[in-house]
């Protein structure tokens, strides 16, 4: 009838889905985005890691992000394809020795009158 769970639904939630203090992970939080360029107060308090609280990581599997993952009903956005291409570039650069190929390539096109 209304937005909140009925007695029956609450019991099911409590039994099937609720994370308990006895669970290894008793709470899941999302990573707080932290912009070093912004002042402390604008960023908000940095969450200290607390036992039992798992902060979802966007970086743990960054090395895997150099190819688009399979989708279901929603295709990857342009922004996602761009993200993957940047991760591919980083992966390529990771294996470079000495000067970066990107830098060499860009230097060959650079016209100083374009930038001075």
């Amino acid at each position: 009838k209304d937005w909140f769970l009925s007695e029956e639904e609450f019991k099911l939630w409590n039994r099937l889905y609720r994370l308990r203090n006895s669970d290894k992970i008793k709470e899941i939080t999302l990573p707080r985005v932290h912009f070093p360029s912004l002042q402390e107060e604008e960023n908000g308090p940095i969450q200290k890691p607390t036992t039992g609280i798992h902060e979802l990581s966007l970086g743990e599997w960054r090395v895997w992000q150099d190819h688009p993952f399979p989708t279901h009903q929603v295709d990857h956005s342009e922004r996602c394809h761009h993200f993957v291409s940047v991760m591919q570039m980083i992966e390529r650069m990771r294996h470079e020795e000495g000067e970066s190929n990107y830098e060499l390539e860009m230097k060959s096109y650079l016209q100083m009158e374009d930038v001075s």
Partner: protein, 72 residues
Amino acid sequence: AGFRKELVSRLLHLHFKDDKTKVSGDALQLMAELLRIFVVEAAVRGVRQAQAEDTALVDVDQLEKVLPQLVC
């Protein structure tokens, strides 16, 4: 299964400045569908990752692997 309109209305009103803001039934229906699609997409991408790793359990690791591209 899906998000009840009253629940979607309550979620939206968390963010409205004016509590008296009204949301039409159609808009609630559309928002409920958007949330449902988001949940199913996250779930199925997690399943695909678990299947790629040949495991029958979708744990947080599998979800974290698909998370950056999901939120993009």
